[in-house]
Structure formats: structure tokens, C-alpha cells
């Protein structure tokens, strides 16, 4: 077991890799009442085509998410969600394009809850009847998200940016695609993607790292399995497929997201540095203290809902920024002016230096959320870096790196925009 002390932020990280390939990250938090555990596989909505014993297999959209729902059924007829809840834990799960994660938070009975978590995620149990029933429940969920303008505006952006990549489709799939899922599909995908070498366990709380490792070694399969090779389709071009996608829905004012794709840096330290650089770039360009945001807010073109995000999945980074505006076209054209100005004249040094301080403070704040901390550690494991290194890497990033990123990745021709307009 490796122990790393991060003096600057007063955190200690215990990392263990079991003989079966499972990575365990534990951040010990004395004095805290709650413990948080997240058990994740590097398998998400985008992992639809993969190599199995030399053969390429295609699966319908929505399997990873469907599997997440069904994993809570246990062979003895219980529902793991209910078992954890009955023991005082607050359990939940999510599926993104690149990850499926099961987690709980509890203030008592941590090791019992951890045992339940490790057991139910590693033992699949599906029947044709239970799969059919779930098709109804997930069908409802799909309908609900299709009514959600925030989801529609996001998915239309992905379809505008990418020509082929599976991240163009909803993680939940469609009513039609999930109808093709059988209990066999689920067993196959569980066997391939839920093997320990493709998984990570992250824990934060007042816990004993040795005891956690011992429990994981006892419960989980002994064989490592292999990390499956995936295919996200032919490489995407640098420009969007379509620059505008607009639809009408029951909303009060236009909702918009614009964005661009980023060619992912090599896994490990370069990828962490790229993520932090992009974050600084977005903060400088359109954060709360940026001239762009202040001006557009004062003009009534943006409000407090405006925000930005960066997501890595399907082999690409996707930059997204959006909110509500009476005139999204004006917003994107004003941003393009800012980008040109940065490309021509560089970034203001004073702005850059205070943005770095603010980014440090934001990261410090995120350590207070065990959920965010564990999720970041899990993402880091799948991407080959340690998220707690971010605090010192952040210090090393230069103003010219950020300027170059802005000029190369956010120029007008790289951007696509999706808008949901009101019906009336």
C-alpha cells in the first residue's frame, strides 16, 4: 500500500492495487461523521463497440445504464438499494458516457455497507422477467428526460459536434434501443467490464485503509480479467458537423449550449495538465470575473445560470458553455470577439494570476464534498493520474499555455451551438 501525504492541503491518500488488478484509493478524514464509498467501472454509455476474444461486438445504446439499474437486484430476491437504506446508508448510482459508479454515504455501519456494495456490484442476477419490467421503468425515465429542455439542448450539441462517436446518443438509450436488451446482453457486458482490473474503489472518511483492502480482496473475484479494447468509431474531424441546431419546446426563454471538441492529451500527467489548462482557459474567458461575462450580464444577455463545463469521454474532451439568453447568437459572437482578442493580444497577466488563486480556492472547496473527491479520484484512475496532484500542477501552468489553448480550440470555426426556443 502506498501512502502519500499532501502537505499543502493536509490530506493523506492511501493507494493499493490488489492482485486481481483492483485499484483502491482511500482518503482518511478523521473527525468526520460520514463515510463515503464509490465503486466504479470504466464502462459507460459510449462503450458500445468492443473486442471480445478477437471479435468486434456491437451493443445497443443504453446497456451500461440499464445494467446500472439491474445491478441492484440480488440473487436472494432483495434489492441492494433497500438493504443499504435499511442499514442507514444513502445509496445511489450514476452512469455517464465513460463510467458507471455505485456509491453510498453513511454515518454508521460503514463496513457492513461496504460489504453490501462490493457484493452486489460483483454478483450479477438478471431474469427475462426482471429485464422486461425494467424496460418499462427506464422507458419512463427516457420519456422524462426527453421532456427536459436541458437534456435536449445538451444532446443536440453533441450531435452537432460529433459525426459518429457514440457520445452523440443519450446514455439511457432510446425506447427502441433498450427494447433490444436481454438478460444475456447484461450478463455479457457485466463479465467484460465489471472485472476488477477495469474498476476502482474510492473511499473518504474516518476509516481503516487496511481493513478496506482486506475486505475487497475477500469479496471480489480473484482473477483480474482484461481491460477490454473499445472502438468509438473513425477519428472525428477538428470542426463541428453542424454549426447550429435549433428546436422548439415548452420553455420560458431560449436555452443554449455552445461548445467545441478537444483532442485528448495522452493519459497520465499530460491529460491532467490539459484538463487544468482548459479549466483556467474557460475561467479566464467566461468566468464570473471575466470582462465577457460582466459585459453580457450588464447588457441582459446572460444571467446567473450561465456556466461552463468540460467532459472527457469517447476519446475526446468536450467543452460546453450555456444557460439562458434572449439572444444566443449575440452571446456566441461576443465570445468569438474575446477569443480573437486573446489570440491577437494575449491574456491579461493580472487576470490570469487572480484566476489561478480562484481556481485553487475552488478545488479546495471541492475537497469538502466526499462525492466530488471520490469521483475525481475515480476519473483520475481511469485517465492515469492522481487528482490530488492538481493543486501543484495548477501552479505550474503558464499564461501562454492558456492563451494558446484558447486561440487553438475556441476559435469561431470550432464552435457549434444548440438552442431550444420557446414554442410561442
Amino acid at each position: 500500500m502506498e501512502i502519500r501525504k499532501f502537505e499543502n492541503i493536509q490530506e493523506t491518500l492511501y493507494t493499493d492495487v490488489l492482485p486481481n488488478g483492483l485499484t483502491i484509493n482511500v482518503v482518511t478524514k478523521p473527525v468526520w461523521l460520514k463515510c463515503f464509498a464509490l465503486f466504479a467501472t470504466g464502462y459507460g454509455g459510449a462503450d458500445r463497440r468492443f473486442n471480445l476474444g478477437g471479435q468486434w461486438v456491437d451493443t445497443p445504446a443504453g446497456v451500461a445504464h440499464f445494467l446500472e439499474h439491474k445491478m441492484f437486484d440480488t440473487p436472494d430476491g432483495d434489492n441492494a438499494l433497500a438493504v443499504l437504506s435499511a442499514n442507514g446508508a444513502q445509496p445511489n448510482a450514476f452512469t455517464s458516457n465513460s463510467m458507471t459508479a455505485y456509491y453510498f454515504e453513511s454515518t454508521q455501519g460503514f463496513y457492513d455497507n461496504l460489504r453490501t456494495l462490493l457484493s452486489f456490484v460483483s454478483v450479477p442476477y438478471f431474469t427475462p422477467e426482471s429485464v422486461e419490467k425494467e424496460q418499462g421503468i427506464i422507458g419512463q425515465e427516457i420519456r422524462m428526460i426527453e421532456d427536459n429542455p436541458g437534456f435536449v439542448v445538451y444532446l443536440n450539441l453533441m450531435k452537432s459536434l460529433y459525426a459518429r462517436n457514440p457520445i452523440r446518443d443519450s446514455v439511457a438509450g432510446s425506447i427502441e434501443s433498450i427494447a433490444q436488451i436481454t438478460d444475456k446482453t447484461l450478463y455479457d457486458c457485466h463479465r467484460i467490464f465489471y472485472n476488477p482490473s477495469n474498476m476502482v474503489l474510492c473511499v473518504a472518511g474516518d476509516v481503516d485503509p487496511e481493513r478496506i483492502s482486506a475486505m475487497a480482496a475477500e469479496i471480489l473475484p480473484k482473477e483480474p480479467g482484461e481491460v477490454p479494447q473499445r472502438d468509438y468509431g473513425e477519428k472525428e474531424g477538428p470542426l463541428p458537423v453542424k454549426t447550429r441546431t435549433e428546436v422548439n419546446m415548452e420553455v420560458s426563454a431560449p436555452q443554449f449550449i455552445f461548445g467545441s471538441k478537444v483532442f485528448q492529451a495522452e493519459k497520465g500527467a499530460p491529460l491532467l495538465r490539459q484538463k487544468l489548462t482548459v479549466n483556467l482557459a474557460l475561467r479566464c474567458l467566461m468566468g464570473r470575473s471575466s470582462p465577457f461575462y460582466a459585459r453580457l450580464y450588464a447588457q441582459g444577455l446572460l444571467n446567473n445560470d450561465f456556466g461552463y463545463d468540460l467532459d472527457y469521454s469517447g476519446g475526446y474532451g468536450t467543452i460546453m458553455a450555456g444557460g439562458e439568453s434572449s439572444d444566443p447568437e449575440k452571446v456566441i459572437s461576443e465570445l468569438s470577439k474575446e477569443v480573437s482578442a486573446v489570440a491577437d493580444k494575449g491574456l491579461d497577466e493580472a487576470l490570469f494570476s487572480r484566476i489561478k488563486k480562484a481556481a485553487y480556492g475552488s478545488r479546495l472547496r471541492s475537497l469538502g464534498s466526499f462525492g466530488v473527491l471520490c469521483q475525481n479520484l475515480a476519473e483520475g484512475k481511469f485517465a492515469g493520474y492522481c487528482d490530488l496532484d492538481a493543486f501543484h500542477v495548477l501552479e505550474e501552468i503558464t499564461v501562454s499555455e492558456v492563451r494558446d489553448f484558447i486561440a487553438n480550440n475556441l476559435a469561431q470555426d470550432k464552435l457549434a451551438m444548440s438552442v431550444v426556443h420557446p414554442l410561442h
Binding site: 419512463q140 436541458g150 439562458e324 480556492g361 472547496r365
Partner: protein, 434 residues
Amino acid sequence: MEAIRKKIMPFVELTCLRTDKFKTGCLSVNLLTRLSRENASKNALIPHVLRRGSTGHPDMESISAALDELYGARIEPVVRKKGEVQAVGFFADFADDAFVPGGEQVLEKVTALMGELLLSPNTRGGLFLPAYVDSEREKLLERLRARINDKRSYAVQRLFELMCFSEDYATDRMGTEEEAQSINYQKLTRHYKQLLQCAPIEVFYCGGADPLRVERAVKSALVTLLRGEPDEDIGTDIRINTVEENPRYFTEELSITQGKLSVGFRLGECMYNPNMAAIRVFNAVYGGSVTSKLFMNVREKLSLCYYANSAIDRHKGLMVVSSGIEFDKYDAALSEIFAQLEAVKKGDITDDELAAARKAVATELRSAMDSSGALEDFWLAQNVDGLYYGPEELAALAESITRDEVVEVAKGVECDAVYFLRGLSEEGEKANGD
């Protein structure tokens, strides 16, 4: 982690929680006022206008730059509704001194900036800048109109508007479009001055600093605050009985594919002398947790809906059940929601259900102790109600609640109104025919 409460100025109370647990501390200042249809929008608008500029930091860009320098500290307007009390002000969170390179004293600087925003706005001739008021009024209107975007909360809001039509509670925390539209910079400045004089103020701090240091910082930041006569008319009117003998039914239509059902209840007699721990456990048994009767039966066993849960407003003595259903499942879902409540009333609660509900309540309360934001909201609610026990005490009480105590709460609960948001008639029929 004991809460220390102290009156530091005329009707200004400071609640301090000292802990080294967090890397970021939080500080909030809340002006309390009666929630009313006449003034809610003005009150809600004030912190947003103040956040636009002060004498020392005349625009948002300069405020944001100052906050960046304080290691990304945040000072954000907050507008909350606690029963029929509206609380408006600012919430700040910021890096604790121990984690700031160079050991800068962030607390004093953030508190001073918050005081400046609250008390020294950027004005002309003593009046708010019309440009700031106009643009924030438009944003408030946008937020009010945007409530329809989230159909789930919209259906709950519409239920309360209809169910409590003659009570202040019907008013949203942001007020109404009608009132918001009538606001101008002169009217708002007058209202602001009156609010500053009359509103009781609750200040809350949680973090690593000594309470005396916090008190000094807050007093120094509020030194120019002039106090008048306190507004005594603050509190929540609790209605014990339903408005009519039988539930009132409301249906509205929007272009949506999934129906939203909201069912409103009065908690009834338990509100004469509320046992908050029992009320919370009752809610967890009935619909407030994933082991609840609504979750296990309406969602899991009968697959009648995608979600179904209940929530309590303990200030007002209300409960709402919120559910997402296919349009044609309306009758089945509603009768199951009522049937599960009847089961609780009859004491048809298994030992496992009761134990899980107690644990869920205790866990939620104890988890709040690990979040400065959750502690802040908990203590604001306690202070508004004049209750002075902390989350740990309430969690311990919840763990000893008996079946009889849960049934005692349930017995008084009566449905007052049912609201259903469905698709437009022709689309609805099409969806039902699928």
C-alpha cells in the same frame, strides 16, 4: 461542535459553529421578513441589486476580481422561504486561513466586503442605479417565468398556489410576476431602507475561527447599520384543517409527455405541539426515503411511476407527494398514494420499515453536520422557529421514535388538494394510446 448564539447588535443575532473540520468556512447574513404577495419580489430583488455594485466596488467585474483575489471566495445572494418567513441576504464561503498560502486573513476581508455590499450600495442621489434595478428586475422575471422549465417543481408550486390560495404561503420565495413588473428604482430604494431598519437579522458562521474573532469582524462590517423598530409581525400561520371537507381537484395541461401529480396534505393536529423527530420519521416511513411505502409500492412493486416521494414543510405543517406518471395511470397512482397513507394511519408499519426510516432520518441529520452549507440552512430554520437544539440531538430523538408516535402524526394528516399536470388533450390521448 456546539452552536454559540449571541445578540451582537439590536435584533441582530450571531450563531457561531467552530470546527477545524472544513477547509472552507461559511458566513451568511439573512434579513427576516414576512412573506407576502405585496412585497416578496421587492425583498427577493434587493440582494441581487446590492450584488451589482457598492461604493468601493462599483460593478460586478470589480466585485468578482476582489473575490478571485480572496482565493475564489463566493458571496452570493440568497432568497429563502421558511414557512411564511422570507429570508433574504448573502451567503459566503471561502478558504480557511490554514489552507491559504501565506496565511492571509480571508475571514475579515470577506466579512468586510459582505458588509459593504449590504450597507453601501452604488447609488446616485441616494437612490439605487436605475440600470441595476431594471436589469435585475428583468432577471427576476426570467427566473419566475423559468419555473415552468422544471415540470416536477412547477407542479408542486402550482399545487401550493391553488391549495393555499388565501394564505401567504401561496406566494413563491421570489414573489409574483405582477409585483416584480411594478418595481422601479425609487420604490425599491425606499423598501430597502425600511427593510434594513426593521428586519431582524440572523448572521451565521461555521469554520475554524474563534467566535470572538467572528463577532469583531461582523460588528465592524455592520457598524453603519442603523436600526429602527423591529418588525414583530414575523411568523407562520399554521392551518390545521383542510380548506374544504373533501380534497379539491385541479388539472392543467402543458405540452409534455409525462404527467406530474402533486398531492397536498395538512399535517393537522400534530402541529399544535409538533414533535419534529416524529414528523420526520413519519415522512420517511410514508414517502421520504427509498425504503418508504411510496417508493417500495407505488414505484417498485406496482411500477406506477418513475418517482414518487413525499416532503414536509415543518414550518407550515404541510406535506406534498410528488410523482411522475403516465397520463392514464392517474387514478391508479392516486388511489395507491392514499392507500399507503391509510396503511400508516392504521399502524401497518413493519419493524424493518420503522427501523429503516429512523436510520434514514438520523443519517440525513448527521450528514448535515459534515457540510457547512447544510448546517447553515438547518440553523436558519431552527432560529426562525425559535428552536435551539442541533442536528445531533434531533438525530438521537429520531432513533427512539416509536410506531405509536408515527401513527399519532399520521392520524391527523388530511389531503387538502390534488393537482395534475398532463399533456395537451390530443397529445395526451396519443400518448395514452401507445
